[in-house]
């Protein structure tokens, strides 16, 4: 029994690291622009499909398509910001909420149109199989993906804290007007943050494609879970999102283990409601 429990904890951690990476992109966009990106999960889907097609058509392993996914999603994020999101930034709040829903429905159905709603899978990628460590099964693709998530998150964190551009992003997040007065081009910062936010799920998508089913609606649940994580971690907080992602992964897996797996997402959404009820600024926020 304890072995099974340990196994669940490990599984929870492995999915949690993935959640962290997805949520960091979302919290960055939210923090900087105060825009809720409902299309975030669909960006993830695009990343997964990119990796899938590069593998199926050109035999490029998902591990090596990470840079391509990152670059593609970065450009896509910037274009969506430039041509759609930036246009509603000064509009009514309702439009800001609804616009990314439109983008989400559009992107996911574009995928249905081109690639049908079928479930796909990458067969025999470089990363496959499991290790057995002290009686616990460790999926190799999930393990490598977790390491990738930690490295990427650390890189984002260092970028924000150490580089001039990163500091400008943080300054914009703290106080847009003051940042503008300090000579920061906040519109460019918005665009950059949106691009980075999308690029991060591009990386997550490439990793996920090695072990998860790939289909046009795959982003929906991931996107919604990411909102709970962002709330738990404190809106706009990168460190918060990272820790909360792992927590949510654990709670979801253990909740499914102790109660009923079909309720695991309901538990995640309960976390959101309870968090914003007790601490509207997020558990780890100020």
């Amino acid at each position: 029994m304890p072995d099974q429990l340990m196994q669940q904890i490990v599984n929870g951690l492995l999915i949690g690291f993935m959640y962290s990476l997805i949520a960091i992109g979302l919290t960055l966009i939210w923090g900087v622009m105060n825009i809720v990106n409902f299309a975030h999960g669909d960006f993830l889907m695009v990343g997964m499909f990119t990796s899938f097609w590069l593998y199926t058509l050109y035999g490029l392993d998902p591990l090596f398509s990470i840079p391509i996914c990152t670059a593609l999603l970065f450009v896509m994020g910037i274009l969506i910001y430039r041509f759609i999101v930036s246009k509603v930034m000064s509009g009514p709040m309702l439009a800001q909420l609804v616009v990314t829903f439109g983008v989400s429905i559009f992107i996911s159905n574009l995928a249905v149109y081109f690639w049908t709603p079928d479930f796909r899978q990458i067969t025999n990628p470089l990363l496959s199989g499991t290790w057995e460590v002290a009686g616990i099964l460790l999926s190799i693709p999930k393990f490598v993906a977790s390491i990738g998530s930690v490295i990427t998150s650390l890189a984002v964190f260092l970028f924000l804290k150490k580089t001039r551009t990163g500091k400008a992003v943080l300054a914009t997040e703290m106080d847009r007007e003051a940042a503008l007065l300090m000579g920061i081009n906040t519109d460019r910062i918005n665009s950059l943050s949106f691009g980075i936010g999308a690029a991060l799920v591009g990386i997550a998508g490439a990793f996920l494609s090695t072990y998860y089913y790939i289909y046009p609606q795959v982003g929906g649940t991931f996107g919604l879970i990411a909102f709970s994580i962002v709330a738990l971690g404190g809106f706009g907080s990168i460190e918060g999102a990272f820790i909360a992602g792992i927590l949510v992964g654990l709670v979801q897996t253990l909740g499914g283990y102790f109660f009923d797996p079909s309720y695991k997402y309901a538990i995640v959404f309960m976390i959101y409601l309870i968090t914003v009820w007790i601490r509207p600024q997020g558990l780890l926020g100020w």
Binding site: W30, N34, V36, I84, K87, V88, G91, P92, M93, L94, A95, Q96, L97, V98, V99, F101, G102, V103, S104, I105, F106, I107, S108, N109, L110, A111, V112, Y113, P117, P216, G220, L224, F227, S228, A231, D260, S262, Y263, Y265, A266, F269, M270, Y272, L273, V276, W277, P280
Partner: protein
């Protein structure tokens, strides 16, 4: 300026007469169906508008109230042979109670936070119904065939009685919305929307009035839910609790003009024929092209007409300023 309201009433009267005559002239059942769905979404748009447009709580979880209404009346009918009309009232009350239960903890949430909380709420309710054996879990509920007639809220031969029933529901919702918007409560709602803290300082019991708005909205939406169940005679979580329905409701109100009594009706009149039409003409192949157009439309509206078309209409009515 005095004659403007009366002019509005005259045009509303003409529109109502046209709508009453419509099913007698247009006998094509598909067009009648589109009109019925249009009225149904207009009811929910008006209901959303009370909490979203007036009180500023942007709910993306209305589908939960819709589903609760549909499920309550259907379950009571199947299990206890409760008349659907009574089921409709009970469904509305249950939705109202759930609204209080969820609205109270959310009573300090604003903007995005409220919107996402409402999505979380909708998803939780959907998950519960998907697993709740008593109400059929994922298989849903099939309503028993009762004798056709107004008493049983079931009409087998023609869609026309459904048409008039939902048109009546729409009129009731519009009257409720009009009364709310012109009452003291309506002014409180707007005050809360404009400034949560200011309203509090002015002595408005913000929590109580926000709950009023949610409960009224939930009741009307649940009414539409019961109607839907009686109309299609089959419900499951995938048909009455899906997030896109909530988004559709928000969109209708936004497109029409949130915060005006007639706005959602205009929004539904534009959007429902488009979405039903593309679904029927393009959606049957399962290529997603109908939803593709829909998503594109949402984006377009948000960017170019975010304040709704009602503004255009009322400006035309007033002539040049």
């Amino acid at each position: 300026m005095r004659n403007i309201p009366s002019r509005q009433f005259v045009s509303a009267g003409i529109a109502l007469i046209l709508l009453i005559v419509f099913p007698l002239v247009v006998t094509n059942t598909f067009y009648q169906h589109v009109m019925i769905i249009f009225f149904m979404f207009a009811v929910m748009g008006v209901a959303w508008n009370i909490m979203g447009g007036y009180a500023g709580m942007f709910s993306f979880g209305q589908v939960a109230f819709f589903g609760i209404g549909a499920y309550t009346s259907s379950f009571l009918l199947i299990a206890y042979h409760v008349n659907p009309w009574i089921g409709l009232v009970i469904g509305g009350l249950v939705a109202g109670l759930v609204a209080i239960a969820i609205g109270y903890p959310c009573s300090n949430l604003r903007g995005h936070y409220f919107a996402i909380a409402s999505i979380a709420f909708g998803e939780i309710v959907k998950t519960l119904f998907n697993n709740w054996k008593l109400v059929g879990a994922a298989e849903g509920l099939s309503l028993p065939m009762l004798d056709s007639g107004f008493k049983n809220f079931m009409f087998h031969a023609s869609k026309i009685p459904y048409y008039y029933t939902i048109l009546a529901f729409l009129l009731i919702s519009l009257i409720v919305c009009y009364l709310v918007s012109t009452s003291k409560m309506g002014y409180y709602f707007r005050a809360i929307k404009e400034g949560h803290d200011v309203a509090k300082v002015l002595g408005i019991n913000v929590v109580r009035y926000r709950l009023f708005a949610i409960v009224i909205s939930a009741f009307l939406t649940a009414m539409a839910g019961t109607f839907y169940a009686q109309y299609v005679l089959y419900i499951d979580p995938e048909s009455v609790m899906l997030l896109p329905i909530s988004v559709q409701i928000v969109l209708i109100s936004m497109l029409g003009g949130a915060g005006s009594v007639m706005g959602p009706v205009i929004g539904a009149a534009i959007l429902i024929p488009i979405s039903e039409g593309t679904r029927v003409w393009l959606g049957h192949k399962g290529t997603g092209i109908d939803m593709l157009i829909y998503g594109f439309l949402i984006t377009l509206i948000s960017v170019y007409q975010p304040k709704g078309v009602w503004g255009l209409f009322s400006n035309l009515g007033r002539g040049t300023r």
